[in-house]
Symmetry: none
Subunit: 227 residues, 2 copies
């Protein structure tokens, strides 16, 4: 899953240069040549990073930036301003409007790549451990939501914890004892049959459409999450 970079720039030569280089780096790239359209596209596509020309027809980069930073939904998208000359005043203004970095034309592609990499690393700290996917199952520990095939599924607290535990070590078989210890807690005593009940409830919940069962029972050993 590669990052999506949006370019807002009206000089065609620069756009194609950028596009060529960024795609070589493995990014998904889209662009727009006018400010108004750029803003619209950004809001609908929600890219992971924006390269924006300081001057743009229709709506200036500054305006777009301000607009984005106002809205919670988009103010996390890092913006790199492309400024025409190395005028310090412009740089400062760029930062003030909420740009996260700027690069002066002409720029070194190598350096730009490094800056992009840095901003992307910074803006996606959660994706490593807070959102976990396993085949067509996705669980978000921050928002406490679970999705199967991009459709949301509602789980009770215990089922959530159970799935969360399974997904940490998919394919591994856990005995009822292990599940009780890890999901319920070391010192809590409940019947081991209770696990079966919750497995069932979890199975029912994640069994959407005609998808594969996902939870395998290993006779006389326990359960596991399988693809």
């Amino acid at each position: 899953m590669s990052a999506h970079v949006f370019i807002a720039e009206d000089e065609t030569s620069i756009v194609s240069l950028l596009k060529y280089n960024l795609e070589k780096e493995g990014y998904k790239v889209s662009h727009s040549e006018n400010g108004e359209d750029a803003l619209k596209q950004i809001k609908s596509k929600q890219p992971d990073l924006i390269l924006m020309d300081w001057m743009l027809p229709e709506l200036s980069g500054v305006e777009i930036c301000k607009n984005l930073k106002k809205d919670n939904k988009f103010n996390d998208i890092p913006v790199i301003m492309l400024t025409a000359k190395g005028e310090e005043e412009d740089k400062l203004k760029a930062f003030d409007t909420g740009a996260d970095d700027y690069v002066t034309k002409p720029f070194s592609q190598k350096e730009l790549n490094a800056r992009i990499k840095s901003l992307l690393r910074r803006s996606k700290p959660q994706s490593s451990s807070d959102i976990v996917e396993f085949t067509d199952l996705k669980i978000d520990r921050i928002t406490k939501r679970v999705y199967r095939k991009d459709k949301e599924i509602t789980l009770g607290p215990t089922e959530f914890k159970l799935l969360d535990f399974f997904i940490k070590n998919p394919k591994r078989v856990y005995s009822r004892e292990q599940l009780l210890n890890n999901v319920w807690g070391e010192d809590i005593y409940v019947e081991s049959r209770t696990v079966d009940v919750h497995i069932r409830r979890l199975r029912q919940a994640i069994n959407i459409q005609n998808t594969k069962p996902l939870i395998r029972t290993v006779r006389s050993a326990g359960y596991s999450l399988e693809s």
Copy 2:
């Protein structure tokens, strides 16, 4: 509550220059002149941002950086590398070790300030803008007014702070404890049930017309602001 900037640099003249300028900007500043000590101090003081010389006695800036980025507790602290010359190779290496930005000596204090401001804004999303919108909700931190669908809504002080907090990280689920700590304050003791009461009042207040509820309750976990 101003940000805390840590300087790891062995040239005394630069340190005092930086210190003077940063303190004038309102930052809390501390520093160390050797790598090993710097790392120790950083880990104990947990500054909000680090200015680090590329070359340092005992332990190089690169090493410190790598060390920090490895540790989950510290890898969110932005690092600005101070590189001696403008050699592109060095810049790139700086980014690779996890630095978030670099500045070449001699540097413009104005530009450095701008970069610091930018990185801090990024790592502390709350200190961002004065007017924030989330779907059809708008909150103005200056005039302390709240609007839903452009209609003004009146909230009590606590409800305002509560909503303000939620809107900083929409969709994220907060436990009652977290809400108490962040909205009421670390050292204040109130019953956790109190949160429910304020959630209720907030819900009633922002529930205008036949709009969606916006505040989700996640059983045994907490509450979150949803679109």
